[in-house]
């Protein structure tokens, strides 16, 4: 099966200094891909570069076979890519419902149907639909952020540390949702610090170290590797 998203040897960073150097990743439909690595490995930078938030110095990004390298975020959203940042990922003064509507800005057709689907996936959001998003808990905000990204019906969803700051119980819930999003046919690429949960729940994993590809493999396979265990899990 052709990958929905293919990133080929991209180099990117802030200003003129590269942080991500020649990294390649790929993600197929209905799969979960996780990117792990130590702090400063360039995981979040990679997602930002793919989503057009940072300049790409070299390399290519293909979405459903189309070259989308350096395309601005609003055009990528219209073409089927969604992105959920780690922090400040909801509009606090807008209601939950309005947050979801903003997610459908580029693809306004079928907004109500998509909203119902999001509510079905995240029933907590339906209960809080008229509340300002700023009053939600951290976990609810992360779910709202994912729901908003799903409102554009993306083929690929990029999630930057969706469980950061959450309790282990909520982390488990968030990962259950991520797996369900993949099950409805989306390709989900997740940058995650919580290596064990991430690799256990994902179909494929990439290990980034110092801005470069170090390893890749299926989640359980990487988790079983002694060198990976030593690097991330203190085994």
């Amino acid at each position: 099966m052709e990958p929905v998203l293919s990133v080929s040897e991209i180099t990117s960073g802030y200003g003129a200094s590269p942080i991500v150097k020649g990294v390649s990743i790929a993600a197929k439909a209905a799969s979960t891909v996780v990117i792990v690595g130590p702090n400063g490995a360039g995981k979040s930078t990679l997602l930002k570069a793919v989503f057009g938030l940072l300049s790409i110095f070299s390399g290519k990004v293909y979405l459903k076979g189309e070259d989308v390298t350096g395309m601005p975020p609003e055009r990528l959203v219209a073409r089927g890519m969604g992105y959920v940042p780690q922090n400040r990922n909801v509009f606090p003064s807008l209601s939950v419902r309005e947050n979801l509507e903003i997610g459908a800005y580029q693809t306004p057709k079928h907004t109500s149907e998509r909203m119902e689907r999001v509510y079905l996936m995240f029933p907590d959001l339906k209960k809080a639909m008229t509340r300002p998003a700023g009053t939600l808990s951290g976990g609810q905000r992360n779910m709202l952020a994912m729901g908003r990204a799903l409102m554009s019906d993306p083929d690929v969803l990029l999630l930057d540390e969706p469980t950061a700051g959450l309790s282990p119980a909520y982390t488990k819930v968030v990962w259950e949702h991520i797996v369900r999003i993949a099950e409805i046919g989306k390709s989900v690429i997740v940058v995650e610090q919580n290596t064990t949960t991430a690799l256990t729940s994902s179909d494929w994993g990439y290990v980034l170290v110092a801005g470069e590809n170090r390893d890749q493999g299926s989640g359980p396979e990487l988790l079983a590797r002694p060198d990976i265990g030593k690097m991330f899990l203190g085994r």
Binding site: F51, L53, P72, P73, E74, V77, A78, Y83, P85, R88, N89, V90, F91, P92, S93, L94, E98, E101, I102, G103, Y105, Q106, T107, P108, P132, R148, A149, S152
Partner: protein, 304 residues
């Protein structure tokens, strides 16, 4: 006898107060139109446009041109002037402001740019129209008494325009896609972009609406003060700032209520103390609000 005198004095005080409220409603109407325009633009772009007062001046002078030179009805002149001011506002954003934003100029630079722009526009208007007082050739209409409050028909039209515009702004922000996009940009422009909001289009619209409201506010202000010079807008700008800051900067609903508060208090105060102190009263309210609630009185609703 003594009781009668006291009752007469108290009734006189109440009449004076209600007269002040009447004048306050008119000032608040003008102020609300202007304040909502300024705060909408701030909410979306996140910097204060010090040239906003001159947009009012431009609107007032364009309407003067249409009514006095082209002999059009004052209300039609007002509409045309507001539309043209909207265009000028959009153009100024695209030609003057955007190049600085694209170079990621710091906030201070943008403030200096808009102050420079303000001087340029005011002097530009003066060079074209001259420094002398101008006046619309228009009848104030019949006198309408509502209790002790006295209005001219023209003033009631101004109050009506303000009510209609505030309702339209509310409907725009609350129920339209573009209005919600404006509110999302006001909350977090980066997240709005990530979510697929076309920020350039929304910014353009914010400048257009802001310019339209400024043009309209300039005309109703000029009608209200009866004669005006190129300093019309710059003199009124600080009162607009007071209303906007009291309501919570970047919050249109706050600006509406801030305008009502500032308009009423300044005009009521003018019934009891010299009217030359109206601006002082406005700033006294501003200082008190900033001391006790620096985020503005009406902060439960989000910016824009």
């Amino acid at each position: 006898m003594e009781w009668n005198k006291r009752a007469r004095r108290e009734s006189c005080d109440v009449s004076l107060l209600l007269m002040g409220v009447g004048f306050g409603l008119i000032t608040a109407s003008v102020l609300a139109i202007a304040s909502v325009g300024l705060t909408l633009q701030f909410g979306v772009t996140n910097f204060v446009n010090f040239a906003y007062g001159e947009f009012l001046t431009i609107g007032a002078y364009l309407a003067y041109f249409f009514s006095a030179v082209a002999n059009l009805n004052i209300w039609l002149s007002m509409l045309l002037a507001a539309l043209l001011t909207a265009g000028i506002s959009w153009l100024i954003n695209r030609v003057v402001i955007q190049p600085f934003l694209k170079r990621k100029a710091p906030l201070l630079i943008l403030l200096v740019v808009t102050i420079g722009l303000s001087l340029f526009l005011e002097n530009g208007v003066q060079a074209i129209a001259g420094p002398s007082f101008q006046q619309y050739v228009t009848a104030p209409g019949a006198i309408v008494n509502i209790g002790p409050m006295i209005f001219t028909a023209q003033q009631l039209v101004i109050v009506g325009i303000a009510i209609v515009l505030m309702t339209v702004v509310h409907l725009l922000l609350k129920y339209t896609r573009i209005g919600k996009a404006m509110r999302s940009m006001s909350d977090d422009p980066d997240l709005a972009r990530i979510s697929g909001v076309p920020i350039q289009r929304v910014t353009d619209l914010a400048w257009l609406i802001s310019g339209f409201l400024a043009g309209l506010a300039g005309v109703v202000l000029a009608i209200n003060v009866t004669s005006f010079t190129p300093a019309l807008g710059s003199q009124f700008l600080f009162i607009i700032f007071a209303a906007v800051i009291v309501g919570g900067i970047g919050r249109p609903y706050g600006a509406m209520l801030g305008a009502l508060l500032i308009g009423l208090v300044t005009e009521v105060s003018a019934m009891y103390i010299d009217s030359a102190y109206k601006t002082v009263v406005a700033f006294a309210i501003l200082v008190i609000v900033l001391l006790f609630r620096p985020q503005g009185i009406f902060t439960s609703r989000g910016r824009v």
